[in-house]
């Protein structure tokens, strides 16, 4: 009985905590526009996460992209050139200009919400 009680308490705490994480615990970001959403969809469809990270989630073969737009040494042009041409390790995905624009818009949105990266000086 004692074991079932401990399990029940932990489970109820988990449900409560999850509900909080799904709402107030993560309400700091701005809401994505439909164009940025399209960029996000393309990011997933081309599996960009295989090589690139956003907020630490993703692979390591390519550079981290969370703050690629505001990074003084990289910026929008750098991202655009890579998306249009590929690189040594990155294939050219032959993206349409519309797809490139949507991806850039999505990366701008991510960058604008990367508060911890900027305050920590990364």
């Amino acid at each position: 009985m004692q074991k079932l009680l401990i399990f029940a308490i932990l489970f109820i705490t988990y449900i409560t905590y999850s509900s909080w994480v799904y709402t107030r615990g993560t309400d700091r970001a701005s809401i994505m526009s439909s164009h940025q959403e399209l960029g996000k969809q393309i990011y997933q469809e081309y599996n960009c996460q295989s090589c690139h990270q956003l907020f630490g989630l993703g692979g390591y073969l390519g550079p981290e992209l969370t703050t690629v737009i505001s990074d003084k040494n990289r910026g929008e042009l750098y991202a655009r050139i890579l998306l249009e041409n590929g690189a040594i390790r990155m294939p050219n995905f032959h993206l349409s200009p519309k797809q490139v624009n949507a991806l850039i818009d999505y990366l701008k949105y991510v960058d604008a919400n990367a508060f911890t990266y900027k305050t920590d000086g990364k």
């Binding site: 615990g25 700091r28 970001a29 997933q44 956003l54 907020f55 040594i88």
Partner: protein, 449 residues
């Protein structure tokens, strides 16, 4: 009493080992893309190789864990498996998913998320297969949770929380989650972190059963200490995921809770050190020596990875290690060093129950096993070294190209030792694979399930 042959269990093992061999091959090819830029860039780019590798090795863990549960539940419950038909359907659906996902990845069909890159509709099939598995488990075992040993709790928890977390991982399909990057990333880390906890519960449950079978001591899995560590593990499954999200600008409370929970792992660490000494000085098992030996090596890997895990959970250290290969070292150490070795001990125990105790303990196996562990250690250290080097490169504000050039010697060690890990696992698992293949192809009349 001996464990009886289980046809579903045997076929799950065959599928698991096949997945691992192919998954490791993709891993080795992916490793080569680090040292040979442009290698297979157009034909099989890293964008395809990585999900193929990740999906197949995770499939190894799930299929091997499911196979072990199918073998063990008739033994622990004293009943026949509730439905062989449901188990066969489970295998069939699992096989369909495997073929569908692998073919899709080859063709460049993605659309999912990190670690679950396949299109989300495939998750429906995964859930159906899992429910069939759960029905068979719970109806066969009919657990009375007041009395059952800790491994039944562990398996039940693993089954329940995989179902919860695979559903949670699809929340991004709802606009409330998808339109808010911080919520989306946080929930993704949360779901995947707890999902890893769920498969750990399945694997650790089997490992606890193996230890009981080796020692013959039924008390170890019914003791207060065993349940204390089970509940500690459960707490970590539920709340420990957040140490991955220190850099995500969610609420400060998420980070505080995660850090506090992460530190409870120190208790597990202390227990392992204590048990290690006890095992070394007092235990002299005669039964299933090979499984015992594999578990002992896994214990050493647990120790090594816990030290790493606790270190990277400290926010001041995590600030530097986050997004470096140290996280990969942690993932590789746990999936190969801990999960794979614990599953191997289970597979070896079951295989030797079928063909005779000690039959797999040959000089060949011994040499291969040592070769595997040395290769894995070099592989693990190369990843840690790569992570440290990356931290220095970021600190010195190197560009990505400069950093990749700096990491190149580590990539070489990582790539070569990765191939050796592949070869080591191939050598170690081949006799086990052959044993189960023979069992699977033998006449089914001897199947008691």
């Amino acid at each position: 009493m001996k464990i009886s042959k289980s046809i579903p269990g045997t076929w799950f093992f065959i599928m698991a080992i096949s997945s691992l061999f192919i998954g490791l091959l993709f891993g080795a090819l992916g490793g080569l893309q680090y040292v040979l830029p442009g290698f297979l860039k157009e034909a099989l780019s890293f964008q395809k190789i990585r999900p193929l590798h990740v999906y197949l090795v995770i499939n190894w863990i799930f299929c091997a864990a499911a196979g072990a549960v199918y073998y063990y539940i008739p033994y622990v419950s004293g009943r026949k498996l509730y439905s062989t038909l449901l188990a066969k359907l489970h295998i069939l659906i699992q096989l369909i998913i495997l073929i569908w996902v692998v073919t899709g990845f080859f063709m460049g069909r993605f659309g999912g998320r990190e670690y679950l890159e396949f299109p989300p509709y495939i998750v429906v099939l995964i859930i159906v297969a899992w429910i069939l598995f759960m029905i068979n488990f719970f109806v066969t075992v009919r657990p009375s949770f007041k009395e059952v040993p800790v491994y039944i709790w562990s398996w039940s928890t693993g089954l329940l929380f995989f179902l919860i977390t695979i559903c949670e991982a699809q929340l991004w399909l709802l606009p409330h989650f998808n339109n808010n990057i911080i919520r989306d990333i946080t929930v993704q880390w949360k779901a995947m972190g707890s999902m890893v906890g769920s498969w750990n519960m399945l694997v650790y449950g089997s490992a606890m059963f193996v230890m009981e079978k080796i020692t013959g001591d039924k008390g170890i899995n019914r003791s207060k200490k065993a349940f204390f560590f089970y509940f500690l593990g459960l707490t970590n499954l539920l709340f420990n995921w957040g140490h991955h999200t220190y850099i995500v600008p969610s609420s400060e409370l998420v980070r505080t809770i995660s850090y506090t929970i992460s530190m409870t792992e120190l208790l597990i660490l202390a227990n392992i050190i204590y048990s290690f000494r006890k095992t070394y000085f007092k235990t002299n098992p005669h039964k299933h020596f090979l499984s015992f030996r594999i578990v002992t090596y896994a214990e050493a890997w647990i120790l090594l990875n816990l030290v790493l895990s606790i270190s990277i959970s400290v926010p001041a250290i995590n600030f530097y290690t986050h997004g470096t290969h140290i996280t990969v070292a942690h993932a590789m150490g746990t999936t190969i060093g801990i999960n794979t070795l614990l599953l191997l001990s289970s597979l070896v125990l079951i295989a030797e129950e079928m063909i005779g105790d000690g039959k797999l303990f040959t000089p060949y196996f011994n040499r291969s096993f040592i070769f595997l562990n040395i290769s894995l250690l070099v592989f693990w250290l190369s990843l840690v070294g790569m992570g440290i080097c990356k931290i220095i490169a970021v600190h010195e504000k190197n560009s990505f190209t400069e950093m990749m050039a700096r990491l190149y010697p580590y990539f070489q060690v990582f790539s070569i030792s990765g191939i050796f890990v592949f070869l080591g696992l191939l050598l170690v698992l081949m006799p086990v694979f052959k044993t189960f293949l023979k069992l699977g192809l033998a006449k089914q009349s001897s199947d008691p399930s």
